[in-house]
């Protein structure tokens, strides 16, 4: 399959992720959208690695996945903590960082 298919799929996944982050209210959904964006990037890495016969892209994906796993742990902990205080995970109700 030509490279361009992978890249197109990756771009579509990334766009869906961005749209999810920008448009959804639920912090957990936003979180999942972020994961989607990360994996879109991973797909691009892998596609290029296969196309160029170069392992570095594959290796980089592992790093991304490790970071993403760590991020999930921290992010979910934050969401749980916020939920305990505010009894909500809708981010338009927890917009405290403002004037």
């Amino acid at each position: 399959m030509p490279l361009v298919y992978y890249l197109l799929l990756s771009a579509i996944l990334f766009g869906i992720g961005v749209a999810g982050v920008l448009l959804r209210r639920n912090a957990i959904v936003i979180f999942m959208s972020v994961e989607l964006m990360l994996n879109a990037v991973n797909l691009t890495f892998v596609a290029f690695a296969a196309h160029l016969k170069n392992l570095e892209g594959q290796i980089f994906v592992f790093f991304v996945m490790v970071v993403a796993a760590a991020e999930v742990a921290v992010g979910l902990a934050l969401i749980v903590a916020i939920f305990r205080v505010k009894a909500t995970v809708f981010i338009d109700e927890i917009n405290l960082m403002k004037w």
Binding site: V18, L22, D92, L96, K98, W99
Partner: protein, 649 residues
């Protein structure tokens, strides 16, 4: 001995440091011993130096010592250097000698006062500054001393800072100190300008350099008369402030708010004579500025008359003496103005003796009367305080100018030189001398003679002062009697001694306009007799009005009520200054400098810049919505713009 000149001002400085830092832990005796001992040490050093000076030939009687270079910038250099010629030697001896007696007296007078050690540390600081003033070898060092004595004067006038001085005007002691300080500032401004002009003209502030160049101008004119006149007048403005001459004398009567020994030391014997010393020091400049000399003479004489008349109606014993001091200082300036600088310094010295005596005597009277200062509430003290009475009487006779007391010789020297200069000035000065005798004996009669007028409670406590106070009185009384004999006309030792200090800068063969004619000896003796008669007439009038006929003074006051009130209210000068300067300045300060310049312009600029950024921020801060998605949108938009730019390139 030359290398020990610095010791003379050093001892009082040491006394100030010790008493100032540790004095509150010491007993009164220890504080007094340290303070008086420091001044005594200075006096002894001064006497030793004096004997050394006497051993030199008259022309070479100048000792100098340079401690170190204080300032050195480009062509301007100032050294911390001391100069002891016959003029400053005279001043140093008078200052330390009289100062020591007053220190001893103060130990008794200030006994039990709060701030005893503070008083003595200030007094020693004053001695240090005064010695710096008279011993400095350049104008700047002299100015440092000049300001130093002003500071000490301020501190000591306000010594009773929590008391009200004048019930009628509500002037506090602290306020009196502030008044003295501010009025002196006006004079100091003139002194500073004079110094600038001296530096601009002669390129130095060193006495030797400046006066040599000024003296050289006598034979080969290099500096214009106008410049000399300007320098002389500017320096004289400084002298009018420090020495309480018209129009800046107003601070001295209120300076009596300080303890009496302070009035004796600072506001009679030493500090206020600094102006006379300065004019005598700069005689070579004044001699080349005839107009300035005339101004000095006229201002001095006007002050002498003006202040003497105000002393007639004053009822506060210290204020009578204060006006008397202003008046006598006027005489000294009159002497300088007519070119008789040595006569001016001579009167300065004798005045230091008898005026210190009179002030200390007044302090002794107040001590006896539980602090009463109104002579209307005294009377008959002769019996109760005999030592004070006799010494006070000696001082009174001396200032009135009766032969052969010291005041006679010095005042007569001035009158004689004035007569040679201008008979018109002489007549006025003679009249002022009569008024001096009158008010002085009015005070003596009201204080020591007649029936006692004090309250029973005060009467009960009446007592002569302790030995530590009366002993200085007796020594000063002795000096008031014999002090004038150093300057007996025609064997004038004093003039021979002092003259070289002034004449050394006059080059050989230079023609001076002054001293055009010498009067005959017979005329001089005749005028002496006249001045003694005038003084006796003044005393006689005082006797008639205040002692012989009861109520005579009140009748005269009632008949001449217009003049009486004018004098009583001190010619309304304080009121006029208040309306002319103080109030407009206060109004301007409040309504312009404070409410417009400070509030609107200075605060306005600061607050305005804060308001500006606050306003801008209040618009920009809307950007920070607190909604993370808004920030993310911005991020994405930025990303699109960058990507777009990269693709379109």
């Amino acid at each position: 001995m030359q290398n020990y000149l610095w010791l003379i001002p050093f001892f009082p400085l040491l006394g100030f440091v010790i008493n100032g830092l540790l004095g509150r832990n010491f007993s009164e005796k220890a504080v007094g011993a340290i303070a008086a001992g420091a001044v005594l040490a200075s006096f002894v050093t001064a006497v030793l130096t004096f004997t050394e000076l006497l051993g030199l030939s008259p022309a070479s009687r100048v000792l100098t010592q340079t401690l170190y270079q204080w300032l050195a910038t480009g062509n301007f250099g100032v050294e911390v250097a001391f100069r002891l010629d016959t003029l400053s030697m005279t001043m140093v001896l008078a200052v330390t000698g009289v100062g020591f007696l007053i220190h001893v007296y103060s130990v008794g007078y200030m006994h039990g006062e709060r701030g005893f050690s503070r008083f003595f540390s200030f007094l020693n600081l004053f001695m240090f500054a005064m010695l710096l003033l008279v011993m400095g070898n350049n104008f700047l060092l002299m100015f440092v001393g000049w300001e130093g004595v002003g500071l000490c004067s301020y501190l000591l006038i306000g010594f009773y800072y929590d008391r009200v001085f004048d019930e009628t005007t509500g002037l506090t002691c602290a306020g009196a100190g502030t008044k003295a300080f501010i009025v002196n500032r006006i004079g100091d401004f003139g002194f500073l300008l004079g110094m600038f002009l001296i530096f601009a003209t002669f390129g130095s502030l060193d006495f030797e350099t400046v006066f040599s160049k000024a003296g050289a101008s006598l034979t080969t004119p290099q500096v214009s008369t106008a410049t000399f006149t300007a320098i002389a007048l500017l320096l004289f403005i400084g002298a009018t402030g420090k020495s309480a001459q018209l129009p800046l004398y107003v601070w001295l009567p209120d300076a009596m708010a300080g303890p009496t020994p302070v009035s004796a030391l600072i506001h009679a014997a030493t500090m206020v004579t600094a102006g006379v010393y300065m004019v005598a020091r700069c005689s070579i400049i004044y001699l080349q500025a005839p107009i300035a000399m005339e101004v000095v003479a006229v201002v001095g004489l006007a002050t002498a008359v003006f202040a003497a008349t105000m002393a007639i109606t004053a009822t506060d014993i210290k204020k009578v003496l204060a006006y008397s001091t202003v008046s006598q200082l006027g005489y000294m300036f009159l002497a300088c103005g007519v070119g008789a600088f040595t006569a001016g310094i001579f009167h300065l010295v004798t005045h230091a003796f008898f005026k210190a005596l009179l002030f200390l005597g007044a302090g002794s009277v107040m001590h006896a009367l539980s602090g009463e200062t109104q002579i209307t509430k005294m009377g008959g003290l002769r019996k109760y305080t005999p030592t004070t009475f006799w010494t006070f009487l000696m001082g009174g006779i001396a200032i009135a100018g009766i032969f052969p007391f010291s005041g006679f010789f010095s005042k007569d020297e001035i009158l004689w030189k004035t007569f040679l200069h201008s008979p018109v000035l002489y007549v006025i000065a003679l009249a002022a001398a009569g008024v001096t005798a009158f008010y002085m004996f009015r005070m003596i009669f009201m204080t020591f003679y007649g029936a006692p007028r004090m309250d029973a409670a005060v009467m009960h406590h009446l007592h002569e002062s302790p030995k530590v106070m009366t002993l200085p009185l007796m020594i000063l009384a002795g000096l008031s009697i014999v002090g004038g004999w150093i300057g007996i006309p025609h064997l004038n030792q004093f003039e021979h001694w002092l003259e070289p200090a002034m004449a050394r800068f006059i080059p050989e063969g230079a023609a001076l306009h002054a001293e055009a004619h010498e009067g005959s000896f017979g005329l001089e003796v005749g005028l002496m007799a006249v001045s003694v008669l005038v003084a006796l007439a003044g005393i006689y009038f005082a006797y008639q009005m205040y002692l012989a006929k009861a109520g005579a003074a009140d009748r005269v006051a009632a008949r001449l009520s217009g003049i009486y009130n004018l004098l009583k209210r001190k010619y309304y000068v304080d009121e006029i200054y208040d309306a002319l300067f103080v109030r407009p300045l206060l109004w301007l300060s409040e309504n312009f400098f404070w409410k417009i310049f400070d509030v609107k312009i200075i605060d306005g600029t600061v607050n305005g810049s804060a308001k500006f950024f606050g306003g801008v921020a209040s618009v920009l801060r809307r950007w920070q919505t607190g909604i993370v998605q808004n920030y993310a949108v911005t991020l994405v938009l930025g990303l699109i713009v960058i990507l777009g730019y990269l693709l379109m390139r």
